[in-house]
């Protein structure tokens, strides 16, 4: 990656009246990156990218585009474009006219525009007849695709997407994710993407930023965010997780609440250690938790009662209530279905190499 980020944000603060939506966000987005922002509803994601495209003024802070300050540059002079969460389609134009709008602004000849619009319709799996359809006659997902097509037609240096695929079905979403990713690879443009689908975030992004209440909580590549979250919040946000409160004992080992700890060898080597008296959170993802037979042994062991089983497509989830009253989730593929009956006593185990310790949480 080049040394200078394409977008550099410093201490971005946004207040709406007395309400602070962004509490000082610092962010560097690299040239050509696929950067994803995730976060709970209302955490300020949309506000952040609305500020970046110039649709909202910052209350404080600096934004530079390749080193040039652009806080005061109006939206139409920034080389950015956004797919709105609210879509913001032009109601007085047909589907085709909406898509062609940025091309028309650039005075491209009508035949080229039309060709490009039809190309995009195809890319987004909309029939060519939709070219003349009115926006008000499109279904929710169709509208969303038109909005996406319009932004792609504009083809700016940096593209912002605010939940662009949220109204689409699973298959179409997969297809379009692939198309977008391919487009990103092919053009080398910078993409900034907001999504609620963790899968989408993990598959597509170079880096992911997690926002929480107007602050950025962690920025890292997908695996790191998934496997080594910096906080309980991040851990919990990125899919199902089991968290156990732990405390350091005098021998720099751990004492767990509701979990039996039998780490073999040097716990310090695998990072699973705490200073005496220090508290922390032990994290393990449900897919790393195994059902143990009575004779099996493991680095960490949890005992409990099987409460529930859910089928989630290709996976099955089991909810086990521990003796400490905590619910532990275990995930298996259908193939490895666990045969225990709800209500039965079970023993769960997981290994030191699959846990992550969040300190001080």
């Amino acid at each position: 990656m080049p040394s200078q980020p394409i977008l550099r944000l410093r201490n971005i603060v946004k207040k709406f009246g007395t309400f602070t939506a962004l509490h000082g966000v610092d962010l560097d987005i690299e040239e050509g990156e696929f950067f994803t922002i995730v976060g709970p509803s209302g955490s300020g994601k949309s506000t952040l990218i609305r500020i970046l495209v110039g649709m909202e003024e910052t209350t404080e802070g600096e934004i530079s585009l390749r080193g040039t300050r652009i806080e005061k540059t109006p939206a139409n002079q920034r080389p950015t474009c956004m797919v709105f969460q609210s879509l913001a389609l032009f109601p007085h134009m047909s589907v085709g006219q909406n898509i062609e709008f940025p091309l028309k602004l650039r005075k491209e000849p009508p035949s080229d525009r039309r060709a490009r619009a039809l190309e995009l319709l195809e890319l987004l799996r909309l029939p060519a007849e939709y070219y003349d359809k009115r926006i008000s006659q499109c279904s929710g997902g169709e509208k969303q695709r038109v909005a996406l097509a319009r932004a792609l037609a504009f083809d700016p240096e940096i593209l912002f997407f605010d939940e662009p695929l949220s109204a689409l079905d699973y298959r179409l979403r997969k297809t379009l994710e692939r198309e977008l990713k391919e487009l990103h690879n092919r053009t080398g443009k910078t993409f900034v993407y907001i999504t609620h689908s963790l899968e989408e975030a993990m598959v597509m992004s170079d880096r992911i930023a997690i926002m929480r209440q107007g602050r950025v909580e962690q920025i890292a590549v997908a695996d790191e965010i998934y496997g080594r979250p910096v906080s309980r919040f991040v851990a919990e946000f990125m899919g199902e997780v089991n968290l156990f409160d732990v405390e350091g004992t005098t021998n720099e080992r751990l004492h767990g609440n509701g979990v039996e700890i039998h780490v073999n060898g040097e716990a310090r080597d695998c990072g699973v250690s705490l200073a005496p008296g220090e508290t922390g959170t032990l994290m393990v993802r449900p897919e790393y938790v195994r059902f143990l037979a009575a004779t099996d042994t493991c680095d960490f062991i949890v005992r409990g009662v099987l409460r529930d089983e859910y089928a989630l497509g290709s996976r099955l989830q089991y909810q086990i209530e521990t003796s400490a009253g905590q619910t532990v989730t275990v995930e298996k593929l259908r193939e490895d279905r666990f045969t225990g009956q709800p209500g039965s006593e079970v023993m769960l185990g997981f290994d030191a190499e699959n846990v992550h310790l969040i300190r001080g949480a």
């Binding site: 110039g54 649709m55 909202e56 003024e57 109006p74 939206a75």
Partner: protein, 270 residues
Amino acid sequence: MPASRSTRIVLLVYGLVTIFFLYLPLVSVGFASISRSRYLSFPIRQYSTKWYGSALASDNVRQILMTSLKIAVIVTVISMVVAFFGALAFARYHWRFRTTFQKLILLPIFFPQTVLGLALLMWFNSIGVIPTWKTAIVAHLVWIAPIATLIVAIRAYGFDPALEEAARDMGADTWTILREITLPLLMPGIVSAGLFAFLLSWGNFPLSLFTTGADSTLPEWLYAKMVSGYSPLVPTLGVMSVVASFLVILAAFLISWVLRARRRARAARN
């Protein structure tokens, strides 16, 4: 996409200039009202406020103002109601004769008003109605209600029928929908239409001329005075209208402010 500071300032100045432009002639009218002489020549050298005294003392003036006010208020109220529904028929509902309706409603506006007034007077006469200020209300409505309808229709065009559907889905009947959803959403348009209705009625001369019978309205009286008997009483009444309207608007604001404060207080108590 917030407007830049400079745009804001430029537009603000532009707004002030427009207001200045609107009031400039009224300044002259103001001078005329306090001039001793009825033939103005600026700079004015001799002032007098006697015309204000005589305007306030005059029975005629009081009666004329009352008639004008009565007509304008009633026309306004009826226009607002009629325009609300008319605008829905014009812009919101898709019904069979809508396009015809959209054209027919324009016809009265195309009519030269004097001629409309005269023809209306003949109509009233032929059905045995003796013209008074009440017939003037009908005459004003013929011309003003379509205009008010057009103004409300602007808003009715822009408003999302899904909101009505949502309310209906939750069990609201048509009346409730109109009251709770349609009316509040069209309110800015209705208020605007009401203002228009009031002012058009208040200032109307050609229709009033033929349809008020023996009652006179302010514009009739002023027009006659200007044609055949100008005195500074004319500008005096002009100035007094502005001042009175200012007081009325001020009072309206105070009342609505008090009402809102009370409602808020009541809400806070709950």
